[in-house]
Symmetry: C3
């Protein structure tokens, strides 16, 4: 009878069939084939990666191969690449039994996302209307990686609660929305956002939060036993934290102007991050009775300074300005983990596994407004005439824009990114509620067993067992009872 | 009596004395001293790393220090260096009790190999016959690292079944064979193979497989309990996978032509790798009843696209061509893990611990033939006249070679690399069967205990023990029996 | 009564109140605010990172943005950055229960140290007396990271035995002392020390040893159970080792002269490190009855070649000279771990957790003297006239210095760095003995529980528990006795 009820419940509330044997391969194959076809139609090498380069060099009177953009940006690209795959991936290994899913699904969705991003960003930003082609080079690869970052941030809110098929859907729509909001913010509003406080972090953060809000699981406490770390999984997560932290200067400087632009963005980010670490440690220690530090804070809030410098890093924010930004964001982000996340979960029904609200959404939004303020207060004295034009790209039809107006547009851009995140996320969340994506049951979240072949337990290594057997033989009263002490 | 038989068996079938206290130090010392002597005789700084550089600059009218090859290639060199030591090293930590051996012996043999490679490659490729010296610079270091890669691939097949002394022998001969086959393929046949599909992967793969075939252990099942992963060792292996995956664009572009050559090779490899991930996930999921993913596939087959692009990456294979290569190789490599490896083990008596047949040998061979096809179909229209000459290096005595001929030579080069791998590996395998290298017994494979001081078990940390004691005191019926529940 | 005695003992011998809830946040906040104020007063962008760069370019007739120092040094900077945070951080995760402290406190003190270093080094080296400002660029960031390295080395000796507040004090004074000794050695004595054998390693090593000597704990054996590694913590430490090892060529070449200087320093370091690995393995294997390798040696002594090349790497030491340096230092460092460390602990009362004497102090000192010898034996024939001047910077008031004199000054510089380390460390050690820093008790060292919220044990994951329950039900004789077999 009870059994019958259970079947009934499973059938209707259900969609808890976690078998993705058809859907996952289907999605991967169909989308990858679509990518190949679309790349065949649209994507070509740009002039710096095409073998006509030697002719281009002559034509533009370029003296040396070192002027190829590859040498300006490739080291930064590789740093960004590490952040996307190792940084985000390992940051999400902190759960005791979801490390495979953390690093593995991160790998999957970023690999799909970057292909789709090359197309979407190409159509919106670099499509050559005379030939109908998108020409890609190293800067396109960096932008594609950036675009993935938005979706990986969203994954942080959903970690452990969705199937890989759902993640592919999140990525498909996320990249699409990203390219649109980026086009509006960077091209139409003509904002500057080299490190993506607005277009990456605020958007990605609110996108993930909105999805998570729609997918609210009232019975998630049934998986509570797995929603936490163990000692070594916290150390694995520190690999992610540190690679994100170290390479964030490259993230914020990767696509800024050659020369002083890249140089300054790297310095500013470096300083803001250092400052974040100290205030994170301070607040984390203060929050505990005995002053003990919490790994969750160290793993996450230390990065808030980098997020918040995403827009302003290329501006003349000054070194001490960077320190102040990091100082404040370390505090705000740690407070977020201490007070805002529990509040959101309790009162707004918002389950945010990695606390992306505190690390990306809020600092990203702040970063957008900081950028607006710094832009609005720019002066020709500080920037030099030429520097002002090149930093804010006041050229062509934006030739006569003042820094005040620019500041206003920067603030508007931040709002656009948040709006896109929230509305887009809500819609995608509704799509994900359709009962066909193979999401896990409430008592099965945060568990790699659902989507991965998980190896036997470490404790089963025979030498230990033999040792136990040995023990047993020495204690006949136990061995006689046929009792196996420690077989797990 | 049985005991006596055992002694007898050990004596004759033996060579299972795993004591390497004499042989390992002897090999390390003697070979390192030999390196010092040979370096003293042969190796000098090249003109870009010699302090005469400022004169060279004036003489060749070089305007700036940035034209030093160091700035073109050093970032790529460091990426390749990470692949060799962290990439290969951590990929081989996946076994539950052979992580020390995986990363540690990788470290040892690569450190020896790169020295010997500088000499061997120097003698064959860059020896200045007027002075009798080899002049080295950053490109030599990259080539030396590449050369090591061949031997580390071979180590993948042997992982857990050989002693460090045997590995040093594998490396000594492997580097030697590598330099010869590379000379034949690149210099005599004038093939292009910047990322080494042929000279590195096909050679290294078949070299390792041939050695493993000769060293077949019919009783390896006695170590079966250790031939598998545990949860955290799989996460460690993902560090290796990701660093290989992320930096593969640097691997394939590290020694290609300055400018568009490096730029294009990086883009092509980036795309092929992304495509591999999706098809690997698809096949892995399809192969399991419930659509669960297998970490072995994710750790390995996702890299197949990079291997297969080793030759063609610098050509105008087009972005969608790169995606197609990755698409196919992800499928083929995953099928290899599912069907070919068990087949090889069962019918060909070939024990391949890491499945290098599926990740290196087969995709490397394919990459060689893909390169041949892409080369044969090159046109002046696509490459430009100058681009065609510089891409295929149709200069000097190869001035009049056609792309069709080039394609034929590329295919021939692939066959040469496989032949060198198979024949050389078989001979080296026979040498390794001599009973003096300290290899492990059949029931002792995949076990760090044999060659490493392994620390006590994690479980023995006292707080846990205290907890148990506490438990015991609450259950007098047990504690009285003097029984220690969990002493391991 | 016994309880009373205990209270009494705690009160007097005490200072074992490990509560840092007030002191740690106070130190972090106050010092970070001080940094902001001092940065506001002193620190500005240099001309290559300021938006006036386009004017500077015109003024100095610089043809291209690629001439910005950012493109010469940023890739090396990022490698050094990885060494500081991941390299040193993960190298110190080897203890079974101090991985959080190893990587986390490393993160904290480096983040503070680099800010303070920018100021201290700025005041001593780059203060513009006309404006009273310090102008920073990418080279300043590298130098700040270098400066932190000195303090992180000192942390290696103290690992597990001090509180984070004590570490902040060690860093504050360490950076200060570093800047002074660096000024004396590089500016007054006009030594060359690009990779810091003297100023970083010898200083940092002896600084840490002197502190540790003053803080000697006679009852440290009470924490002996935690002063060791477990299997996975040793693998984590290998991440640190390998990133240090791989990027050491960048460390030693990061601030050498553009062009051949950077190129040569990278090659020399690469070779010395490779050579170190082989001799470390040889000695490690010889030292054990069965020839087994010890992870402690592989993790540490393999790096000794890089330390010892810190001064000489930019000189024309020749490739085989580099191999010889690595050869000797691998042997010396491993012998240090085998014999010198136990001797120091027993007879000099010196507790050196990571063995920095063997990895930094001794090889650093040797590196200083090697540099002196190589400098003294420089000839115009080998270096070229111009090369000799640029390598040793024989310009301005040092125009007439001979190489012999230079050698003498290099040796003197080494002695200065050691003296600063020993005297400075002794004084800082005395400061740290004040009973107000919250250091751990003797039976509480090497334990993350003291300063970190440590997650529950891995073994507590329920599936295992369920399995046990299942077992119990099958063995009624046990389950009836209400006995919980394995609840930890």
């Amino acid at each position: 009878m009870g059994n019958c009820c259970e079947h009934f419940r499973n059938f209707f509330c259900g969609n808890k069939n976690t078998n993705v044997r058809v859907s996952l391969p289907a999605v991967c194959f169909v989308w990858q084939i679509a990518m190949i076809v679309l790349f065949g139609v649209f994507i070509r090498y740009d002039e710096e990666s095409d073998s006509h380069w030697s002719e281009v060099k002559k034509h533009h009177n370029i003296s040396s191969d070192i002027e190829n953009d590859f040498y300006y940006r490739y080291p930064s690209f590789q740093d960004v690449h590490v952040m996307i795959f190792v940084g985000f991936g390992f940051l999400m290994t902190f759960l005791k039994r979801y490390s495979f899913g953390g690093v593995g699904f991160n790998f999957l969705i970023a690999s799909f996302g970057l292909q789709w991003a090359l197309l979407m960003q190409g159509w919106f930003h670099t499509l050559d209307h005379s030939t109908g082609k998108i020409y890609i080079g190293v800067e396109s690869l960096i932008n594609a990686d950036f675009c993935c970052a938005g979706c990986l941030i969203a994954y942080g809110a959903l970690l452990g609660k969705v199937s890989p098929v759902q993640l592919m859907v999140v990525t498909l729509f996320g990249i699409t929305l990203f390219a649109v909001e980026e086009f509006i913010i960077l091209s139409l509003l003509h904002c500057r956002d080299a490190g993506g406080s607005m277009v990456i972090h605020a958007f990605g953060g609110y996108y993930g939060l909105a999805i998570s809000w729609v997918l609210y699981r009232p019975n998630l406490h049934q998986s509570r036993r797995l929603n936490g770390s163990v000692y070594h999984s916290d150390v694995f997560a520190m690999i992610g934290t540190l690679f994100l932290w170290m390479f964030w200067p490259s993230f914020n400087s990767a696509i800024t102007d050659h020369g002083d632009g890249q140089h300054r963005a790297a310095i500013n980010t470096y300083l803001a991050l250092a400052s974040s670490v100290l205030t994170t440690v301070a607040i984390s220690s203060m929050s505990q009775k005995k002053g003990k530090l919490d790994m969750v804070h160290i793993q996450n809030a230390t990065l808030a300074g980098g997020v918040a410098m995403g827009t302003a890093a290329e501006f003349m924010i000054t070194p001490y300005g960077s320190l102040i930004v990091g100082f404040c964001c370390g505090i705000i982000s740690t407070f977020g983990y201490l007070f805002v996340s529990p509040f959101l979960e309790k009162y707004l029904k918002l389950q945010d596994t990695c606390g992306i609200h505190n690390l990306h959404a809020m600092p990203g939004m702040l970063g957008g407004f900081i950028g607006a303020i710094v832009a609005a207060s720019a002066t020709e004295e500080v920037y030099s005439k030429e520097g002002l034009i090149s930093t804010f790209d006041f050229e062509g039809k934006f030739e006569n824009r003042t820094v005040g107006t620019q500041g206003g547009y920067q603030a508007a851009g931040t709002c656009v990114s948040i709006a896109f995140g929230l509305v887009g996320g809500a819609i995608v969340g509704l799509i994900l509620r359709l009962p066909l994506w193979g999401g896990p049951a409430d008592d099965n979240c945060f568990d790699d067993e659902v989507y991965w072949e998980v190896p036997e337990e470490e404790e089963s290594i025979p030498p230990i067992l033999e040792y136990n057997n040995h023990m047993i033989h020495k204690h006949p009263d136990i061995s006689e009872s046929n009792f196996s002490v420690d077989q797990n």
